[in-house]
């Protein structure tokens, strides 16, 4: 199989979907002529032109709302937020119009949009640029939230997101853009296309002793921790990558926890009402009698993102913390 970057994987998904469906177009700040602030859309404007790849002014409420309106008439905009952190200036469009126009119209209107961009800390860009709003959007029924951790998933999930007829918010990571991974060529795949459905978690590592549940970059952190646990402590951790936050693959989580009896939810989200809280609630609710210990979680340290580069590293979960937590209940 080929090895490509997470960035390239997303780009392939975008290009394939632009070619497949004439209603698909990309819009966002600097996505066209500049090739994208993080080069995800590199080359696409050159290839597909002004109609399909559009540079927007710094007017997130304006152009995201515009995309929502256009989607009501059948277009399928894929809209880049240069950072998901900028969602707050467009929050009404994202939280009200996109989520509820279908509901408030009794199902008459659909909103097949994708909003995508990076949502992560860890790059020293400070409090206002390091938000991870997956919990906020997943709280709102009508929305779907996806957080791919690998190039394979990034490509497959993006294609599903674009074909989905509901609003899907894809949260990528600037830290992951350069990571490489195996992604099959289309002609290696049955059906000729890489599709990863929303709502299906992926067990990224098998293990019997403890379950680590994560999404996005935290999945890689968990895999590192799992390697240490196995090597140094003879503990086999199973790593469940949620991939999509809503819809959520609850069954895969529970199956794992029923086997291991222990769980830690690891996230780069802030802790209060974060994804970890929700998953922990679910696990104790659905698998109370299978639990040998309380469900633990590890989130980013509960403060706005600090700038100081060496210190910010410690604000986000790192492997030895997971190891310590695991040892405390294994």
């Amino acid at each position: 199989m080929r090895t490509i970057t997470y960035r390239e994987a997303i780009r392939e998904a975008l290009a394939e979907e632009i070619e497949r469906d004439e209603n698909v177009f990309l819009i966002g700040e600097e996505v066209a002529q500049y090739n994208g602030a993080y080069k995800v859309t590199e080359g696409l404007w050159k290839k597909y032109g002004d109609k399909r790849v559009i540079d927007a002014p710094i007017s997130e409420a304006g152009f995201l709302g515009m995309g929502i309106g256009a989607s009501m008439l059948g277009l399928r905009p894929v809209m880049e937020l240069m950072f998901w952190s900028f969602c707050y200036v467009a929050m009404d469009q994202l939280m009200n119009n996109a989520s509820s126009v279908r509901y408030m119209s009794g199902g008459l209107i659909h909103c097949p949009i994708v909003v995508r961009g990076p949502a992560n800390g860890g790059t020293n860009v400070g409090a206002t640029h390091s938000h991870t709003p997956e919990n906020i959007f997943a709280n709102m029924p009508g929305l779907k939230v996806v957080c791919p951790a690998t190039p394979y998933d990034a490509k497959g999930l993006m294609k599903s997101a674009i074909r989905d007829n509901d609003p899907v918010y894809v949260m990528e990571s600037t830290v992951l853009y350069g990571q490489t991974g195996e992604v099959p060529d289309n002609d290696e795949i049955e059906g000729g296309e890489l599709i990863v459905p929303l709502g299906v978690a992926d067990v990224k590592r098998q293990g019997d002793d403890i379950t680590l549940v994560a999404h996005g970059r935290a999945v890689l952190t968990c895999l590192e921790a799992a390697a240490i646990l196995a090597d140094e402590h003879d503990i086999e951790a199973e790593v469940v990558d949620l991939r999509s936050i809503r819809p959520l693959d609850q069954d895969t989580i529970l199956e794992s926890v029923r086997k291991t009896g222990r769980a830690i939810v690891v996230e780069e989200n802030k802790p209060f009402c974060g994804i970890g809280a929700q998953i922990a609630y679910l696990i104790q609710h659905e698998a109370f009698d299978d639990l040998d210990a309380p469900v633990l979680r590890l989130s980013s340290i509960d403060a706005p993102a600090i700038y100081s580069p060496p210190v910010e590293k410690k604000q986000l979960p790192y492997p030895s913390q997971i190891v310590d937590k695991a040892l405390s209940i294994c």
Binding site: P57, F63, G65, M72, G74, D92, P247, L248
Partner: protein, 362 residues
């Protein structure tokens, strides 16, 4: 760029000869009358049932502004689209929605246009190019730009009429929409229905402006106009060139139409008579009422007689009453239906709708 006169009750006649008006046939003219009268009776009937607690939430009445929706929408063709704010009953009936589906929506019934899920602020009829009904002030303005964008993207010759209030012009999303519309030449016409108040706040207390609110268009190099909204003739005449430019050259505009609402901001607005004088309201009703203005024009023109007007009113009232009976007799949505219409994929039972958990009750 604009004629900055408004509220001139006499000006109407001069627009009768405008090319867009002069060939109107009798049926069409009477049709405009009927359309306005139906809006008024629909709302008066709704109000009565609101007071009888047949409905809840807000009820923002359009009464006094009928000529704006009827006049502007009368010029719309197959590829012209409509979107507005929460004061949306007038536009809904003007695009051709039935009183029954609208009244049933107010009653919260499953037979309502939005299955009782949207209520007064959220009427929709995509099949009639009507995209609602939106509750957040200014929130519909980027959607309007988006409808226009989609028309242009698809190569259709059409425009979006996007209505907003005089208070809504101070929302950020509107400003962003104006810049996008002007920058990209999107065929959207923003129609400010200036009824002089945003709830209890007069225009002068909420907006800083040169001569009027539409003039802010200048800052984006956009076309604009300001005119009186009491006569269907004037509205049509003044809208036409902007609609043509939108159709032919994808040019956006802002049109500010002077109008007035007779009732409070919403039915729950107990202050409706505090921030405006009784005289102000009565002057409007007596001298500028769009239905009376049109009725007089039609009588003057010999298109119909006072008795015909009465008959049209009676029929509209009957229709409204019947719609209330229909609404009253319709079933409520079932509690189990609360989670329908949230996700397309779940509703349609697609593969994507069956994969993963979508709802978290429990």
């Amino acid at each position: 760029m604009a004629t900055a006169t408004a509220k001139s009750s006499t000006g109407s006649a001069e627009f009768a000869d405008d090319p867009v008006n002069r060939d109107l046939d009798t049926d069409t003219k009477i049709g405009f009358y009927r359309a306005m009268v139906r809006i008024r009776h629909f709302e008066q009937t709704a109000l009565k049932h609101y007071q009888q607690e047949k409905m809840g939430g807000f009820l923002h009445l359009y009464i006094g502004q009928e000529a704006v929706a009827v006049g502007t929408i009368s010029l719309c063709g197959d590829n012209d689209h409509i979107i507005t704010a929460y004061r949306d009953h007038g536009h809904a009936l003007a695009v051709g929605m039935s009183m029954e589906e609208c009244m049933a929506e107010l009653f919260g019934k499953r037979t309502g246009c939005s299955k009782g899920k949207g209520g007064s602020m959220h009427f929709f009829a995509p099949d009639k190019n009507y995209w609602g009904g939106h509750g957040i002030v200014g929130g519909q303005t980027p959607l309007g730009a988006g409808l226009a964008f989609a028309l242009k993207y698809k190569g259709l010759k059409g425009a979006c009429l996007c209505y907003l209030g005089d208070g809504a012009v101070n929302q950020g999303a509107y400003h962003e929409s104006l810049n996008l519309a002007a920058l990209w030449n999107l065929p959207v016409i923003y129609i400010i229905e200036n009824n002089m108040y945003s709830m209890g706040t007069s225009q002068a207390r909420s907006s800083a402006y040169p001569s009027c609110l539409a003039e802010r268009a200048e800052g984006y190099g956009m076309n604009w106009d300001l005119f009186n909204g009491e006569s269907v003739y004037e509205i049509r005449a003044k809208l036409k060139p902007h609609l043509d430019r939108a159709h032919d050259d994808h040019l956006p505009s802002i049109l500010e139409i002077a109008t007035y609402r007779y009732y409070g901001h919403s039915v729950a607005d107990a202050n409706a008579k505090k921030y405006r004088s009784k005289e102000e309201i009565e002057k409007y009703q007596n001298e500028h009422d769009p239905i009376k203005v049109w009725e007089n024009i039609l009588i003057d023109e010999g298109v119909f007689e006072a008795d015909d007007a009465k008959e049209i009113n009676r029929a509209a009232k009957d229709e409204a009453d019947a719609s209330a009976r229909y609404a009253d007799n319709s079933p409520l949505p079932d509690v189990s239906e609360i989670t329908d219409d949230v996700y397309y994929e779940v509703d349609k039972g697609t593969e994507a709708g069956r994969t993963g958990r979508h709802f978290f009750n429990d």
